[in-house]
């Protein structure tokens, strides 16, 4: 069995963002980077599946981006992936989901992956497209927003999270792709011995040009900070003063605090 997990490196969302000089993305200087949170669930699920099936499946992790994304790749290797493919692209942030999916498809198309895991979306771009696009381009079944996963006898059974706490139960014949939602599992920490083992695992590097032939079809025209609606009152400073202020406001504006 062959498993592929697609991961992305994104900035820590608690960072301060400002537009880049060209206005087409955010400024990447001084940001802390980590694995996209949704992708951590994807890696964990793939590793759990590998553990369930014994040592037999081969688990490849793939990421597109600059040399910096090798950090995310190494984390995935330390979590338990067997090998990695780094598609080198210093300008990945300018690619639209269609291009990213085309690159992954070009890589995966003759490799017969039985299962592909992706995050349901990335935290920075939030397009929620890449997983499904890859599945459609490869002509395999896919399910999105998965919060429960099991596998037996070539059949994947998942629960999709719908609105209002309802879940949709779906089964898929392999080959198949699932996009992982928050809470699917509890992603493990890479342990020190596994970080050491990961150093010895292969990271294949492929130049993006050899895989990409598509133009962007939904390019970013501009990135900017939202205009603050204003109106709201902002309280800052001494805790005691703020509490008094807030209570004053609540008494005036709401009927609940008297």
């Amino acid at each position: 069995m062959k498993i592929l997990v697609c991961i992305k490196q994104v900035p820590d969302m608690e960072s301060r963002f400002k537009p880049a000089a060209d206005g087409l993305w955010f400024d990447e200087t001084d940001l802390a980077w980590r694995m996209n949170e949704y992708d951590e669930y994807a890696v964990e699920q793939a590793v759990q599946l590998k553990e369930q099936l014994g040592k037999e499946p081969e688990l490849t992790v793939l990421s597109i981006g600059s040399d910096r994304v090798v950090e995310a790749i190494k984390k995935a290797l330390a979590m338990g992936a067997d090998r990695a493919t780094h598609i080198q692209d210093a300008a990945a942030q300018q690619k639209d989901p269609w291009q990213i999916a085309s690159i992954i498809t070009a890589y995966a198309k003759d490799k017969d992956f039985d299962l592909i895991f992706t995050g349901m979306q990335s935290q920075d771009r939030g397009s929620a497209q890449v997983g499904v696009l890859v599945a459609e381009l490869l002509g395999i079944a896919s399910a999105t927003t998965v919060v429960d996963f099991s596998f037996a006898d070539g059949v994947v059974s998942v629960k999709r999270e719908l609105e209002g706490g309802i879940k949709g139960l779906v089964s898929l014949q392999t080959p198949a792709l699932v996009t992982c939602q928050l809470g699917l599992n509890v992603p493990r920490y890479p342990t020190l011995p596994n970080i050491m083992k990961a150093k010895k695992k292969e990271i294949e590097a492929i130049a993006v040009d050899s895989l990409l032939s598509e133009q962007a079809i939904a390019p970013t025209a501009q990135v900017y900070a939202p205009v603050r609606k204003g109106g709201g009152i902002v309280l800052e400073g001494d805790v005691g003063d703020m509490v008094q202020n807030l209570l004053g406001i609540l008494k005036e504006k709401t009927a609940v605090v008297v």
């Binding site: 900035p11 969302m13 955010f26 639209d96 989901p97 269609w98 920075d124 771009r125 939030g126 929620a128 497209q129 499904v132 696009l133 459609e136 395999i140 896919s142 399910a143 999105t144 927003t145 059974s157 999270e161 719908l162 609105e163 209002g164 706490g165 309802i166 949709g168 139960l169 779906v170 089964s171 898929l172 809470g183 133009q215 962007a216 079809i217 939904a218 390019p219 970013t220 025209a221 501009q222 990135v223 900017y224 900070a225 939202p226 609606k229 709201g232 009152i233 902002v234 309280l235 800052e236 805790v239 005691g240 703020m242 807030l246 209570l247 406001i249 609540l250 709401t254 609940v256 605090v257």
Partner: protein
């Protein structure tokens, strides 16, 4: 300009969010057509053609078949935009349609700015304008970004025949939401704990404030996922939608899926140490402070 509205149907009913799609088309001043995999009794009420594929044959969730239905409607109507709600149905189906047509998709549109589609990015801390280059485009709309219109006239229904082939996917059924231990929908005051409270032990601080305010404890999703608080307290798209008189968000960043569940609150107070947190946009009062320091003092004051 013509817009194809992909309406949504679940457990025998048309979802109200379908009328947000109508509002979007009206904003553009576009001609509308709709498509629904559903039944005759549940077609959207609007003065436009509605293509209807029979849910009894197609199934409520069957992406390959639903894709075929949408593509059949596109074939007949040649719309400029194909619009979905950004929901578990929409974000699942939209890319399938986009790739089949090889057109650009814009995800979770929040508005139209100078003719371009505006979407959020970086957890709503930034905005992005996206400009599809293809002749037509697929869009998904953020829940609530376009206020639903009221149902209008009876539509002109046209039946669609589609081939039934799930292509490797079988829909097994629904699993009902867990029984709610607390019903937040009736609460007048909700005090919500977000990930910013730091650890399970600190939930009691938030619960104490809720009690001092005579309200219920709410929670954001990560707090529920980490099992600090039981699921029926979760507010948001995949939790409960609430409309209290007062909503106090403690250490909640204000992700759209959370806002979707609490934006009908009359008065919102947010306590967050990050002045730029998106919750600030929704809040009537933003208290820039560490929840662990602020909340106990507030609780003590309220307890007199």
């Amino acid at each position: 300009m013509k817009v194809l509205l992909v309406c949504e149907y679940r457990e025998g009913k048309l979802l109200d969010t379908s009328y947000e799609l109508v509002a979007f088309a009206d904003t553009l001043g576009a001609e509308k057509v709709a498509v629904l995999v559903g039944d005759e009794a549940a077609v959207p009420q609007l003065d436009a053609p509605v293509y209807l594929a029979d849910v009894a044959l197609c199934g409520e969730y069957n992406p390959a078949v639903h894709k075929a239905a949408v593509l059949a409607a596109v074939e007949k109507e040649q719309p400029d935009y194909i619009v979905f709600s950004h929901s578990s149905y929409g974000w699942d189906l939209a890319p399938r349609v986009a790739v089949a047509l090889k057109v650009g998709q814009v995800t979770e549109v929040v508005g139209i700015v100078d003719g371009d589609f505006e979407v959020g990015c970086c957890n709503a801390k930034m905005r992005r304008k996206v400009k599809p280059t293809t002749a037509r485009a697929v869009l998904t709309l953020q829940a609530g970004a376009f206020a639903a219109v009221a149902p209008q006239a009876a539509p002109r229904v046209e039946r669609l025949e589609v081939a039934i082939d799930g292509q490797g996917l079988t829909f097994v059924g629904y699993e009902a939401a867990e029984v709610k231990v607390v019903d937040l929908t009736k609460a007048e005051v909700i005090v919500t704990a977000g990930r910013g409270v730091g650890k399970k032990d600190n939930i009691s601080l938030i619960a104490d404030l809720a009690k001092a305010m005579g309200g219920e404890l709410g929670a954001s999703r990560p707090v529920v996922d980490a099992e600090w608080v039981e699921h029926s307290h979760q507010v948001g798209t995949t939790g409960q939608s609430v409309s209290p008189k007062l909503y106090v968000a403690c250490g909640v960043s204000g992700a759209i899926q959370h806002l979707a569940g609490m934006k009908k609150s009359d008065f919102v107070v947010a306590i967050n140490k990050d002045k730029d947190a998106p919750i600030g946009e929704m809040a009537d009062v933003l208290v820039v402070a560490d929840v662990l320091q602020f909340v106990p003092v507030l609780t003590a004051q309220l307890q007199g």
